[in-house]
């Protein structure tokens, strides 16, 4: 079984909806340790993505993801703009001109995207960032694929690991991004970027459960 171009489009549309539904939660998380703009920035970005999507939906997966990345870059701002833009650009470049992809392609894309974010943000695991959800998602996905799990199972394990990684940011002291200015006071709060990243991986697992 494979993940088709239409599955990818469904994922992006689903995630835009997820952002809308979680706008308040993302805002509140960022209000506590950041500057309260993560919800609004992601909402503005994915609203623009939805408007742009019809003009690229005939294209291949790589082109669609790269278009999402470009739109986010010009609409989101803040750190989340370049970081999420990088996620989609790297994924698009890695997958390339395909109209359907195997789970291995997705694993490679997720790994490249995560590496791209780490390079741009100069962040490490446990810095209390998006990466704390993404790294575990990559590892769990690769392990599940290696164990011969079905696509649906592998994606679910990836989402579960992202969820755990997100929760594990709560006790951490932030070392990157605006939360780092708080020093010790950033401990005890869940990282908003790790949260939106978990939601992205979860949305893929749910949308592609039967792939």
């Amino acid at each position: 079984m494979a993940i088709t171009k239409d599955d990818v489009l469904s994922w992006i549309r689903d995630y835009a909806q997820v952002i809308e539904e979680n706008f308040e939660m993302l805002t509140d998380l960022d209000r506590e340790i950041g500057d309260a703009d993560h919800g609004a920035n992601m909402r503005r970005g994915f609203k623009a993505v939805l408007e742009k999507l019809p003009s690229v939906e005939d294209k291949d997966i790589g082109a669609i993801l790269k278009s999402v990345g470009m739109t986010l870059l010009s609409k989101v701002g803040g750190a989340a703009g370049p970081l999420y833009s990088t996620f989609f650009m790297k994924a698009g470049t890695t997958i390339g001109a395909k109209s359907e992809m195997a789970i291995d392609d997705w694993a490679k894309a997720l790994e490249a995207s995560t590496a791209g974010i780490a390079a741009l943000g100069k962040a490490q695991p446990n810095d209390k960032t998006m990466l704390d959800a993404l790294y575990p998602a990559v590892d769990a996905l690769n392990t599940a694929i290696g164990n011969g799990s079905s696509n649906g199972e592998a994606l679910q394990k990836s989402a579960d690991a992202a969820h755990e990684g997100m929760l594990a940011t709560i006790p951490l002291v932030a070392r990157k991004g605006r939360a780092s200015y708080l020093g010790e006071r950033s401990a005890g709060h869940q990282d908003p970027g790790a949260t939106s990243s978990y939601l992205l991986i979860k949305s893929a697992a749910e949308t592609w459960a039967d792939s």
Binding site: G34, D35, D37, A40, N41, S74, G81, L120, G183
Partner: protein, 333 residues
């Protein structure tokens, strides 16, 4: 929460429309992507100065566009870095052939977006240099954080380097001067109240009536310490001491003392702070030779103040005194 706005989504756009109507003699305003350039841009043969950042810090940066200061400013959403396409268009619009200097406050988002914009501009053949401002002594352990924030010193840098560019100094000279200003200036801020981001509609942090935040930035983020409120003289001491000790400023130094309102604190209180700050500095043998007092880099309606000290020399004094004609700062013209 009461605010004098329409739809929160349109706050920045409607502000820009107001600026465009109010100051056609000083600036031109462009939309989608949003940026403000001085009315006579590009000035041929002059280094172009571009800055930008989230909105909500007015008059910075848009209010500092004009003769003797910035050539362009890129406003992001409230407290959100602008995007590379804005910065690229602004850079192109002010390139008069002598190169363009980006003045970037040290925040993760601003740094990333400006880096991308600088790369894009270089690909189009424009010579671009970037200078970071990171003057906030409240951020202590910089190897374990995103580094010190760019705060009050940004205003002084934009004025001083703006004068240097106007005088015809080269891109390298302007960049070196900006780095010198950054090396010689330090800031620290405090908040009496939080602020309300328009699209959030509630205070960015909750602060009881009898407490204050020390070591805040300019985005409604909480500071490093929360303590009981003290009289102005005591608070001034808490701000001056870490600033003086950090550089350190020494006996015999001449300084510019900048007492800034975070937006909600009135001038009457800033002068009380200024008076005590001068007394404390004089006691250490530090001489205040220039000053700036008022709301110049704000955090929406936050009540509070920041103190910035910049070590001065003859060149910096001359550049500070040079004519400037912008919406937010105007003298000598």
């Amino acid at each position: 929460m009461k605010k004098l706005i329409n739809d929160p989504e349109n706050v920045v756009k409607e502000e820009l429309q107001g600026i465009e109507l109010a100051h056609p003699d000083l600036v031109k305003v462009f939309y989608d992507p949003d940026y403000i350039v001085r009315a006579d841009a590009p000035v041929q043969g002059k280094v172009g100065l571009v800055s930008g950042g989230g909105s909500g810090h007015e008059p910075m940066h848009g209010g500092f566009v004009g003769k003797g200061m910035l050539d362009a400013a890129c406003p992001g959403a409230v407290f959100t870095s602008p995007t590379p396409d804005q910065m690229l268009e602004a850079t192109k619009a002010v390139d008069g052939g002598a190169g363009v200097l980006h003045i970037v406050k040290n925040y993760t988002g601003d740094v990333m977006n400006f880096e991308m914009a600088a790369d894009l501009a270089r690909e189009e053949g424009i010579e671009v240099e970037s200078v970071l401002v990171d003057d906030d002594v409240a951020v202590e352990d910089s190897t374990w954080t995103a580094g010190r924030r760019g705060v009050g010193l940004t205003v002084l840098m934009e004025k001083i380097v703006g004068a240097a560019a106007e005088e015809g100094r080269s891109l390298k000279e302007c960049a070196d001067l900006a780095r010198k200003v950054n090396a010689q200036g330090r800031s620290m801020g405090m908040a009496l109240t939080s602020c309300v981001v328009p699209h959030v509609g509630k205070p960015s942090f909750d602060l009881p009536e009898d407490e204050m935040e020390i070591g805040i930035g300019i985005h409604g983020e909480p500071g490093r310490h929360r303590i009981k409120i003290e009289p102005a003289d005591k608070i001034t001491e808490m701000l001056i001491k870490p600033v003086v000790e950090d550089l350190p400023f020494k006996e015999g130094d001449e300084v510019l003392l900048f007492v800034n309102s975070m937006g909600g604190t009135p001038l009457i209180e800033l002068y009380i702070v200024y008076r005590k700050a001068v007394e404390l500095l004089e006691a250490k043998g530090i001489k205040v030779v220039r000053n700036l007092i008022g709301p110049f880099i704000t955090s929406l309606e936050m009540a509070g103040a920041s103190i910035t000290l910049l070590k001065m020399d003859e060149d910096l004094k001359k550049l500070w005194d040079a004519p400037v004609k912008t919406a937010g700062m105007r003298w000598g013209i």
